[in-house]
């Protein structure tokens, strides 16, 4: 049921739309960043880096709107929870954007000498994280609590994959001296992707609060 | 845009009509007042003849040692006759009679009243202003034409000659007619006064107030606050409203039939007149009181009830005091109406010639408007000015009562 006050309804809808937009840009960024790692395409990397400003802009716009509504509308119940969570979620989304930028920055500088299996492993890690992010964003907009809790658990997988990748990179680095700058870059990329997983988990916690009115303490 | 001009000119025209209406009303009221005042003002003065009085003990049955009671009962007629002889020498019998007629018929009463206060004057001569007869009074005031044939005049030629003589000797004077305010009614216009009627009306109104106000107040309070709305209450309300419009003579019949016929109350007394007026005023008071009670906002009642006051406490501590200004105003206006009524009093006999001033509500009396009516019906010329004077007095009382209504209302009114 919409709010009786049309302006208020429009404001809430506007925040929703901006969140959706932020989400869709991030998904695109994710897939582009991973492509950069695979293809080392500098132009694509620049595109990713530039697009990040869009995410920051949306962050500010949503933040302003939320601030205004709190001041003027005395939001209650589900509106209040939505606004409260939105502020935290946009922070996490913005950080995800920053990490994707880092992935792109580091990605195109990595040399072409890297063994394929490392790249493949990185791609699997990236793919899982990207899927987790995609599912998380859907969950945010659908507000399904069961999914939120399940998605949060997938972070363990991401963390394990990252740990394993680091091991592989380190052992390759031991055998190849000239690999150190690349390995540092690879580690940073993997770390970035792993952090994204953490932020997505945060977002799912907020969604839990949004739906239930309290945090999942289990 | 043109609409504005039309509307403004309509405004101006409307205001103009209003002003014209107000002006015309003021004009007519002024004419009425001028007419009444000019006719009635004469009643406040009476013509006197300066006469030397010799209190001849031989013509009197009493002396300075007699008691007041004896003096009141004694006849001063002979003394009065003696005074005329004393003042006008060598009169034929016919002339004597004519001169005696120039003095008030109450000549002897005037002498007696003077003697009562000044018993030591016996055997002495004093000069007193004795009232002229009504006919002479009217001639002097110019209400009777002089230049008509004798047969058409009340004053004959001989009397006119004496009058002119006395006038030239400056013995014809005019004094303030206090008798108008201190005497009761009389056959002789010059001595007729309005006090009897005023007292009669006063007693009647007092009885009316004492009867109608408490009953009216409590009946209204009961009907308005304590009865449940329903067909019965509606019926009562319709009946009361209709009673207010019933012609006053019907209440007179009620008084005649019930008070005098069934309860055998005395005829012609202010008690019965007052009760009859009370019946008539009761609906007015009830209507005024009920509408005042209705005007009190329910929030006052709720406030009191919510504190734990009973319905009776709420009504009498809060609602009735707030309704009092309106009720009092309605009551006083009802009294003013009752003051001016003749028809109900007619049926119970209070429209009749009563000479004595009533001492209480059980003495025979007449009312002020009735007195005016009786005077207006009289053949004597002297009563014309008395009628107008009576009307002036009645109007004065009505104005005073209405002013009192306004002042009392202002004083008792509480702002809420």
């Amino acid at each position: 049921m919409p709010h009786t006050d049309k302006n208020y309804e429009n404001q809430i809808n506007s925040i929703n739309e901006k969140l959706v937009k932020m989400g869709s840009i991030l998904e695109q960024q994710f897939s582009d960043a991973l492509k950069v790692v695979a293809s080392r395409d500098q132009n694509l990397a620049n595109t990713v880096i530039e697009k990040d400003s869009l995410i920051n802009q949306l962050n500010h716009e949503i933040s302003d709107l939320v601030f205004q509504i709190i001041a003027m509308r005395q939001p209650m119940a589900d509106d209040l929870r939505f606004l409260f969570c939105s502020i935290k979620i946009i922070r996490d989304l913005e950080r995800i954007g920053d990490h994707l930028t880092t992935v792109a920055k580091k990605g195109y500088r990595v040399s072409t000498n890297i063994p394929d299996q490392l790249i493949e492993k990185l791609e699997i890690l990236g793919g899982k994280a990207s899927l987790m992010t995609h599912d998380a964003l859907n969950c945010l907009f659908d507000r399904k609590i069961a999914d939120a809790d399940k998605i949060a658990e997938r972070d363990h997988v991401i963390d394990e994959l990252h740990a394993s990748f680091i091991k592989d990179v380190l052992s390759y680095m031991k055998e190849h001296d000239d690999f150190i700058p690349d390995s540092l870059a690879l580690i940073q990329i993997s770390k970035g992707i792993e952090r994204i997983g953490d932020y997505v988990t945060n977002i799912m916690e907020e969604v839990h609060f949004l739906i239930e009115g309290k945090y999942n303490n289990s | 845009m043109s609409n504005i001009k039309k509307r403004l000119s309509a405004e101006r025209r409307f205001k103009f009509y209003g002003q014209v209406g107000v002006f015309l009303s003021l004009l007519f009221v002024s004419l009425l007042i001028i007419k009444i005042f000019s006719t009635g003002s004469g009643a406040f003065f009476r013509t006197t003849i300066e006469t030397d009085i010799f209190f001849d003990p031989e013509l009197m049955n009493v002396d300075q040692n007699s008691s007041d009671k004896e003096i009141s009962r004694a006849s001063f007629e002979k003394l009065a006759d003696g005074v005329i002889d004393f003042n006008f020498k060598n009169l034929s019998e016919d002339e004597f009679i004519k001169i005696r007629e120039m003095y008030t018929r109450r000549f002897d009463y005037q002498l007696r009243d003077y003697f009562l206060k000044n018993k030591e004057v016996i055997n002495n001569t004093v000069t007193l202003e004795i009232s002229a007869s009504s006919d002479l009074d009217q001639i002097v005031k110019g209400n009777y034409p002089r230049n008509v044939p004798e047969s058409q005049r009340k004053i004959n030629d001989y009397q006119l000659t004496i009058l002119d003589e006395l006038t030239s000797k400056e013995k014809i004077g005019s004094t303030f007619n206090l008798w108008f305010f201190t005497n009761g009614d009389s056959r002789d216009p010059e001595t007729a006064g309005i006090l009897g009627a005023i007292m009669g009306s006063l007693y009647a109104l007092m009885i009316c107030l004492v009867f109608a106000f408490p009953i009216g107040l409590f009946a209204s309070v009961y009907l308005e606050e304590f009865t449940k709305p329903g067909k019965m209450t509606d019926l009562i309300e319709v009946n009361i409203n209709n009673l207010a419009a019933v012609p006053s003579i019907v209440f007179g019949l009620l008084g005649l039939g019930m008070l005098i016929g069934v309860f055998n109350m005395p005829f012609q007394v202010p008690l019965v007149g007052g009760l009859t007026l009370g019946f008539m005023t009761l609906p007015t008071i009830i209507i005024a009181c009920r509408s005042s009670l209705r005007a009190v906002p329910p929030s006052i009642r709720h406030g009191a009830l919510a504190l734990g006051a009973t319905k009776v406490q709420t009504t009498f501590h809060h609602v009735v005091p707030l309704a009092l200004p309106g009720t009092l105003t309605g009551t006083i206006i009802g009294m003013a109406q009752a003051l001016g009524e003749t028809a109900p009093l007619l049926m119970v006999g209070m429209v009749a010639f009563v000479m004595e001033i009533p001492g209480g509500p059980l003495d025979p009396a007449t009312g002020l408007p009735s007195q005016i009516y009786l005077w207006s019906e009289s053949a004597e010329r002297g009563f014309i000015e008395k009628t107008s004077a009576g009307i002036m007095l009645l109007l004065l009382f009505l104005i005073v009562m209405n002013l009192a209504a306004i002042l009392i209302r202002r004083k008792v009114e509480v702002k809420w």
Partner: protein, 252 residues
């Protein structure tokens, strides 16, 4: 945590029209309970059942059980005047009597025969005015007309008047709706102080007021009790969707 008033299966009809539909609601002692809901939902009607002010309305019929301190308030043994001494009421539009400030407060104690001694009555009046937060402003003019005060002061006078008869419960029917924001916040502050000594049940149109002032909130809709509970819960995560929609302004 004891219930001072408990109601069970309360139904109220105005003639043929049903205004309250089988409501059971309890009120805790020394707590502020707010009744909220859209216009015409029956909250004022329900409030008036508690001090039997609905008795004054001819066509109003109240059924069900209402207990105060375990006594049925509609039983024949209860004198309604005594009940109203125990349960006071403050109305939406301040309605001080057109008498002096002193007499306004003293009226209740007088008719209930608290005392005939002048100095005792003075003390009762002063205490009540102090408790209502009005004494300082009117102490020099206790003989002035109650109606000469400002709106907010008049309402505090009405509160003092209600307090003077030493009630246990104070019912407030939208007490601030006719007042400006400062006067409103003074009264809200007062309510928070008063709950130490009295149980307060307040009907309000303002959700924000209910959120600020009450410990418990009950949401009424079309004569039904939809939800009741701790105020914080009702305003952050109500159980019932209708409650949520009303609170967030999706209908009303």
């Amino acid at each position: 945590m004891v219930n001072i008033i408990s109601t069970k299966n309360v139904n109220v009809h105005y003639g043929d029209k049903q205004a309250i539909n089988n409501i059971s609601l309890d009120f805790m002692k020394n707590k502020v309970t707010a009744l909220i809901g859209p216009s015409g939902c029956g909250k004022s009607t329900f409030l008036r059942c508690l001090n039997r002010m609905n008795d004054v309305i001819e066509i109003c019929k109240v059924e069900g059980q209402i207990y105060m301190n375990d006594t049925d308030i509609y039983s024949n043994e209860i004198e309604v005047e005594h009940l109203r001494e125990k349960i006071g009421m403050v109305f939406q539009k301040p309605n001080p009597f057109p008498k002096s400030i002193f007499d306004n407060v003293a009226y209740g104690p007088r008719i209930h025969g608290f005392t005939d001694k002048k100095n005792e009555m003075d003390e009762i009046v002063v205490t009540a005015l102090k408790k209502a937060g009005l004494f300082e402003e009117v102490k020099d003019r206790l003989d002035d007309l109650g109606t000469s005060l400002s709106g907010g002061q008049q309402q505090r006078l009405c509160i003092a008047r209600a307090i003077a008869v030493k009630p246990e419960v104070i019912l407030m029917d939208e007490p601030c709706s006719a007042l400006d924001p400062i006067a409103t916040s003074i009264i809200e502050e007062l309510i928070t102080e008063l709950k130490e000594s009295y149980t307060i049940i307040i009907v309000t149109h303002s959700m924000q007021q209910a959120a600020r002032v009450s410990d418990k909130t009950a949401f009424f809709h079309l004569g039904n009790l939809i939800e009741e509970g701790d105020t914080t819960k009702i305003f952050t995560k109500p159980d019932n969707q209708k409650t949520n929609d009303y609170i967030t302004g999706r209908f009303g």
